[in-house]
């Protein structure tokens, strides 16, 4: 649907000296590039705000997972139909603002009266888990393929590049929908829910790798021409050494940046799949699934608002952090 954000350059091709020109001599001593990036990042208030929100979200997600799954304190699927207007038949939450009350701070869902806060809370870990693991998958496949294509060149490159074209040409949503419909939902003795989560991670991760693959390939192509690769080779280094010890460390920065920017895309993707009805099975709460449910009740905007807001805040936080990270790792952006 959208092209991934282009990661421009990497810390590797920037001239770190230029960035450091004039720093007090003492201050630079013993600082790795990572530390410099961290110093820069620390100064970026917005990115830090994003990072804090992400950290909070992760805490919330873990807490939600524990409270819901282990301690069974949150009841995201519990019905409260006594709070629903069945009298008039409108099935809307009784009370104002979607049934907001002390017990249900964000109100309740129409029809079955489930607590929206509890569902958003419970949905947080799934959204984050899927997005993160799918990103990890994309990064692993993309990096491997990209680095191989870029490093070996020739027909290997051609083959992998064409493969990426094939993947990019696939209407991803169509495939996700088709696949989810066809594949079984029990496997490896896992619960259907876990299987579905795994499936979504696989689909999202597997179809997104060419984006990162392209970036890594491009970076590898340019890194490969750098003299330090020749230097390693002239010392008798073998292919794997050059790939993993010389090139990979230089790819970490762009990959990291891209990954933080891919996570929000994947969150949106997961919610899009849920919206199209091929996400996580009911009644498990996911943000996209809630949005999808809410779309049938557009006359009750509160229902749509909260999950929408949750997605928005998360995605925004990741984007802000990713942007900040990119700036920090790429001195040229300053």
């Amino acid at each position: 649907m959208t092209a991934p954000p282009e990661v421009t350059g990497s810390a590797a091709d920037a001239d770190p000296e230029a960035a450091l020109q004039g720093m007090p001599k003492k201050a630079i001593q013993g600082r790795s590039l990572g530390q410099i990036a961290w110093l820069r990042l620390k100064r970026d208030k917005v990115a830090i705000a994003g990072a804090i929100v992400i950290a909070l979200l992760i805490l919330v997600a873990i807490a939600a997972l524990l409270l819901d799954r282990v301690f069974d304190v949150v009841h995201p699927n519990e019905f409260h139909q006594d709070l629903i207007d069945t009298q008039n038949g409108t099935l809307a939450p009784l009370g104002t603002f979607g049934g907001m009350s002390g017990a249900h701070p964000l109100g309740i869902e129409p029809v079955n009266g489930r607590d929206i806060l509890a569902r958003i809370f419970a949905g947080s870990w799934i959204s984050l888990l899927i997005a993160t693991l799918a990103t990890v998958l994309s990064v692993i496949i993309g990096t491997t393929m990209g680095i191989i294509a870029g490093f070996f060149g020739g027909w290997v490159d051609t083959l992998i590049s064409r493969l990426m074209d094939v993947f990019l040409a696939f209407p991803l949503l169509v495939f996700a929908m088709a696949l989810v419909g066809v594949l079984p939902d029990t496997a490896f003795g896992l619960s259907p829910e876990m299987v579905r989560i795994g499936l979504l991670i696989f689909i999202i991760g597997f179809f997104n790798w060419p984006y990162i693959g392209r970036i890594v390939r491009g970076q590898t192509l340019s890194l490969r021409e750098r003299e330090f690769v020749d230097a390693a080779r002239s010392l008798g280094a073998r292919g794997p050494y050059i790939l993993f010890r010389e090139l990979l460390p230089n790819l970490v920065a762009p990959i990291l940046v891209y990954a933080t920017l891919l996570i929000p895309t994947n969150i949106l993707f997961e919610s899009a799949l849920s919206f199209l009805g091929v996400g996580i099975n009911a009644p498990t709460a996911t943000w996209g699934g809630m949005l999808s449910d809410a779309s049938r009740f557009y006359t009750m905007p509160h229902f749509m608002l909260w999950p929408g807001l949750a997605i928005f805040v998360t995605v925004l936080a990741f984007n802000l952090f990713g942007d900040g990270l990119r700036d920090a790792l790429d001195p040229r952006a300053r």
Binding site: L20, Q21, G22, M23, P24, K25, A27, R43
Partner: protein, 358 residues
């Protein structure tokens, strides 16, 4: 220090000479860049001047503020990034503080610039011709056809073969030397009175460099403009410049006529420069005489003389080198230096220690 007074009469002192005001006069120029890490004092208290028909060479190490100086004259620093103070008088008008649009009108017309890397300095998407035409038409209300003819003439003038057809080529279709010629053509399109060439030949091979230097020399003779040539290479200034200014850490450390600088340099940094380069015109020395250490940070310029950490003679005059910033002063015959060494010492060191080793 009078033994050099008979050197070339063209030497222009940095302060207004008796014979009318020079075309370009820079006074106490300071260009500071506030950054996250502190204020970068790229240019600090710099004064010099150039007359029409004369060439000033500026030499100095990388990062000594040469380019920043030239960009300040052209008014090309990005708005808001640089703090500029002092005066830059172009034909009597102060460019510092002048409305940006008025400076713009002067650019290209009265002052023009040639950059180091002609490939990146030209827009890759426009033909060479159209870039020259554009430069010409900003300041001259002429039709495209006329401007194009002008461009062809200029290309011809700077020695590009087949200018009629090459005018429609893109920069990447030119070789390095031709690109630099085209840059020069562009700079000359409005007959500027001041031409600044910032390392015009660093990216070029020796044989091509020689062609370009010849070209600049010839053109200057023809157009009678004031020229500033900035370079690392003492050889290049020796070929072109009437006067030479040596910069170190954002300041001028020595300024005099070209022969003066080469025959009787008086600043230890200049000595260092001369000593560190192998020379084709001298007998091969066994060892080069490098300047020790590395250039200072422009945020924390050393106390006293900025050159003191690298200077072999820093302690000669008591603590002065470490505490007092040496004044940039005329030591006779328009020869300016910024050094605490006494006149005797300088002469002695040059004659006995430095010169024999070169």
């Amino acid at each position: 220090m009078t033994q050099h007074e008979d050197s070339l009469g063209g030497a222009t002192p940095p302060r207004p000479a008796s014979s009318g005001a020079p075309f370009l006069q820079v006074r106490e120029l300071r260009v500071h860049f506030p950054t996250d890490d502190g204020v970068v004092k790229s240019v600090d208290d710099l004064s010099f001047s150039v007359d029409r028909g004369k060439t000033l060479g500026i030499v100095g190490e990388s990062g000594s503020g040469k380019s920043v100086t030239s960009l300040s004259i052209m008014g090309l620093h990005k708005a808001g990034t640089a703090r500029i103070s002092g005066e830059i008088l172009l034909d009597g008008q102060n460019l510092v503080g002048m409305a940006p649009d008025r400076v713009r009108q002067l650019r290209g017309k009265r002052m023009a610039m040639i950059f180091q890397d002609p490939l990146s300095a030209m827009h890759p998407f426009y033909t060479v011709g159209s870039q020259i035409v554009e430069a010409y038409r900003i300041h001259n209300k002429v039709t495209k056809a006329v401007a194009r003819k002008h461009a062809v003439d200029l290309l011809d003038r700077v020695g590009i073969p087949n200018p009629k057809s090459r005018v429609d080529d893109y920069p990447h279709q030119f070789s390095g030397g031709m690109r630099q010629r085209a840059m020069i053509a562009m700079a000359l399109s409005c007959d500027p009175e001041l031409l600044i060439a910032d390392e015009p030949t660093t990216a070029l091979d020796v044989t091509v460099q020689a062609q370009i230097l010849d070209l600049i020399r010839d053109l200057q003779a023809e157009f009678n403009s004031a020229v500033i040539i900035i370079t690392h290479d003492l050889g290049v200034v020796a070929e072109l410049a009437d006067d030479i200014m040596v910069m170190y850490a954002g300041r001028a450390v020595e300024y005099s006529s070209a022969p003066d600088i080469f025959n009787s340099p008086q600043h230890p940094y200049t000595w260092g420069l001369l000593g560190s380069m192998p020379r084709l015109d001298r007998e091969r020395t066994e060892r080069l005489q490098p300047i020790k250490g590395t250039p200072p940070s422009l945020i924390n310029v050393p106390e006293g003389c900025p050159f003191n950490p690298r200077c072999a003679y820093a302690g000669t005059n008591g603590d002065l080198s470490f505490t007092l910033r040496p004044e940039f002063r005329d030591v006779g015959g328009g020869h300016h230096i910024a050094c605490h060494l006494g006149a005797e010492d300088r002469l002695r060191i040059w004659e006995t220690e430095i010169r024999p080793k070169l």
